[in-house]
Amino acid sequence: MRPVSFPSSTNDHDGWARLRMSPLVALIAAILLILILPPTLFLIDTSLHTTKPDGSLGAFTLQYYRQLFTSPYLAASLRNTVIYAIGSAVVAITLGSTAALIVERTNAPGRGYAFLAAILSLGVPHVLYVVAWLLLLGRAGPVNALIGFIGGAAEGPALDVYSIWGMIVIEGVGFAPLTFLLMSAVLRSTDASFEEAAMMSGAGPLRVFRAITLRMGLPGILALLLLIFIRAFESFEVPALVGLAGNVSVLTTDIYQSSKNASLPSYGESGAYSVCLLLIVVLLLIWHHRLSVHARRFQTITGKGYRPRIIDLGRARLAATLVLAATFVLVTALPVGMLVFTSLQPFYEGLTAESFARFTLDNYATILAPGAFRDSIANTLMLGISTATAVVPLTALCAWLAVRRRPGAWLLDQIATAPLVFPAIVMSVAFLQVFVNLPIPLYGTLTSVIIASAVRFLPYGMRYAYAGVLQIHEDLEDAAKTSGAPPRLVFVRVVLPLVAAALVSCWLFVFLLAVQNVALPLMLVGPGTEIMAVTLFDLWQNGQVTELAAMGVLWVALMLVVSACFHFTAARYRLGV
């Protein structure tokens, strides 16, 4: 008999815990699979079959994969996609991390408002955000007008936003609030004593940042990079609204342009693309998993007093505040301001002198017409609250199990991240098929929308929770265990309170994403169950840009109220948001 070799790690769990935990992992994996398998199988099925006019699947075919790989536009689109993904990730991470660093680690005055600003911009539906940027940077926009004013009249616009740089800026800036929130979660729980030690040893702030802060936060930053990268690969709004008009094609718009049968459903090509993306994501996650094998090196919340200490910037405090303010202007104030301006115009013709004489509240009157929001607000809030409440605890548990390397727990991360690559339309059709065929009467109910919505936003919750849990040292849990606490109690009494701050932000984030999502609920909700998104949909289909802007402004205001309520409630219980 060969000797059984045990892992040499001293921190390994005893067999008892292993046995105790495995069923839990299996149970959660089963729950996740039940939620995620149907759309995944549907996705794979649609990529391998033709779609019949009634939406059912026809003959087996590999044509969609063939088309994908033999498209004459493939090389150019792939190149553009990579540039776009890297570019927007760099823009988002630079903006978000800088702001997070200032807010979490310095004593710059007014830094507390950064969260409010981030939440404010997360409250703007993504499509409207893109529209606002196009209004700003477009041919008739104020930026081009300003350049024309300074540089004199030139042939054509000085800045052509319908280009790859336009796409990178808009997507990158749009993602900055998310990177800010995620980076804050990472930084907040990073032990500052290493930084202090480095500073004491005479390292300058840049060196400290490079050698300590950046390194310590590496897994968190990588996870974030992964998220933005994947998002950029499957994003559609920016490529469609910005790229297509400038003839810059990326993979998603390439598929959009190639799917023929504009009048009949055809999901084959986008299905094939999503399956390829899914494979890439699995590979990336495996790589990320390998990387965080050494996660212990990065665990910074240890048994010692871990609360990060604030760095006194001295005179540079005001400069840091200025950087924050500039970021706020770029990320939030400019687009929201543009929406406000446009919403007060009878029609949008640029930021001209005459336009200031034409202010009107007509658009708001149209939007707020009696009955427009009948029943919809309550349903919408219900959808957001339920989705976030379902996603956050589940992902917190998954992330903890995955980070603590419970047997098989790496699978949880994989499964929970899969929905990231599902195109919204394919996902809504998949869930439609599932619910309409269920023997239990879920079809058309708000519950069915909540389930689908929870699946859609699982990956976001997962990344958020992962970043939070990654940095909690096992010592604390071990201490509790040694004192006789069962695993359940360890999780509830030790882990949860430590990651609470990250989870509270995560909840709000998922809430904001869930309520502004249009495509998914639209297909699933039944007649008579109205959600706000439908009003938004009407405007998107038929509304003038000025009405759309008015809707956006009202929406942002509502989200601000919700977020503020949340913020103050959380503050009362000392859970910083």
Binding site: A262, V429, L432
Partner: protein, 369 residues
């Protein structure tokens, strides 16, 4: 003992079978008295309305999936219908035509039918293609122009759309406005025109219209020249959004947009106007009845109502164009109605839209992408 129990069980079984048969007979008799949905939908007797009302009272509700704007069109329709037939509860679901048919088709295949009636541009023929439409008879369409009607009764037209170009009046001088398709070939418009892709009523309709009106050869020669104009392919976003871009000065001209949209903005003072060209592409939104529907009587009452002068009037006030020739469109929008403008129209009916869209899309892919 065992035998006893066995015969006892046999007796029980016999009585079960008998009672089941009796029930079936009763149900059959009931079914013979009540009509099948097909009979109700096709009923032409003089007591049609009376019968529908009686049946609808039993059904108590009706469900429509429609592409009508909720606030301005669907709610007034629901209010009017509710006043006329207070015993029927109307519930609605709003989406675009493609999603409407997708959802209804999924319901039919799963034998879990919620929708009774579907409405939308393209909904009718998509429902026919998906094999979920059921023929129905409504006297309301009798006054409609024959060209707009469907002889098989699988759909009825509810509203019309006219397509034209939008131009920015600050960028396009009055004497330079292209008034014909030929004038769009003027080099001064190169790179300054946009059209909407990704929808059957976008680029494919523009191409289909000319292919039908001119014949393939002439149309193809024209497209070969048009491709050099480097038209901007406007993705994602509605036809209305494209008009807004013209107002903002992003593009001088937009092709194949809903011709009344520029008029609505022009009335507010926006620097935009519409131009219709010979031939004007016209399409109809259509209404179909779903196979396996649960409320056939109420569905017929609803269809009748939407197609009635009252229903058509509501749609007209919501800035749609009525099919009923006796119902006038909004005066502000009338100038682009081909009959009123004196420009010939080419009705690209649902059948033609289905027949030509794929090949027009191919032309787009080859020449204009």
């Amino acid at each position: 003992m065992i035998e006893r129990a066995g015969s006892h069980r046999l007796r029980a079984l016999r009585s079960t079978v008998l009672s089941t048969l009796a029930c079936a007979a009763l149900l059959w008799a009931d079914g013979a008295l009540a009509q099948s949905p097909e009979d109700i939908l096709m009923y032409r007797g003089p007591d049609r309305e009376q019968k529908l009302i009686e049946g609808a009272k039993r059904e108590g509700q009706v469900v429509i999936y429609a592409a009508l704007i909720q606030n301005q069109a669907m709610r007034p329709i629901a209010d009017g219908f509710g006043k006329k037939y207070p015993f029927v509860k109307l519930t609605t679901w709003r989406a675009d035509s493609e999603d409407i048919v997708q959802k209804a088709a999924a319901e039919v295949r799963a034998h879990n039918v919620v929708a009774d009636v579907v409405e939308g541009t393209g909904a009718g023929e998509e429902a026919v293609e998906a094999n979920i439409a059921q023929p129905y008879y409504t006297p309301a369409v009798a006054g409609f122009a024959p060209a707009y009607r469907n002889p098989t009764g699988l759909w009825a037209p509810t509203r019309l759309s006219y397509y034209g170009t939008a131009y920015n009046t600050k960028l396009v001088a009055p004497d330079k406005v292209p008034k014909s398709y030929e004038e769009l070939l003027d080099p001064q418009w190169k790179g300054r025109m946009a059209w909407r892709i990704g929808s059957a009523t976008g680029t494919p309709l523009f191409l289909t219209n000319l292919r039908i009106a001119w014949g393939e050869e002439k149309a193809r020669a024209y497209f070969d020249k048009l491709k050099d104009q480097k038209i901007v392919n406007f993705g994602a976003g509605s036809a209305r959004t494209l008009v807004d871009r013209v107002i903002a000065g992003e593009y001088a001209i937009a092709l194949n947009i809903f011709a009344h949209h520029p008029l609505i903005s022009k009335a507010k003072g926006a620097p935009v106007n519409a131009q219709v060209m010979d031939p004007v592409a016209t399409t109809a939104a259509t209404m179909s009845v779903v196979k396996g529907l649960h409320h056939p009587h109420a569905a017929m009452l609803l269809a009748d109502y939407i197609l009635s002068k009252e229903g058509q009037g509501i749609l007209a006030r919501a800035e749609y164009f009525p099919v009923d020739p006796d119902v006038a469109p909004l005066p502000a929008l009338a100038p682009i109605v081909p009959k009123i403008a004196g420009v010939p129209e080419n009705f690209v009916g649902p059948d033609k839209l289905i027949k030509y869209t794929d090949s027009s899309e191919d032309i787009y892919q080859k020449l204009f992408r």
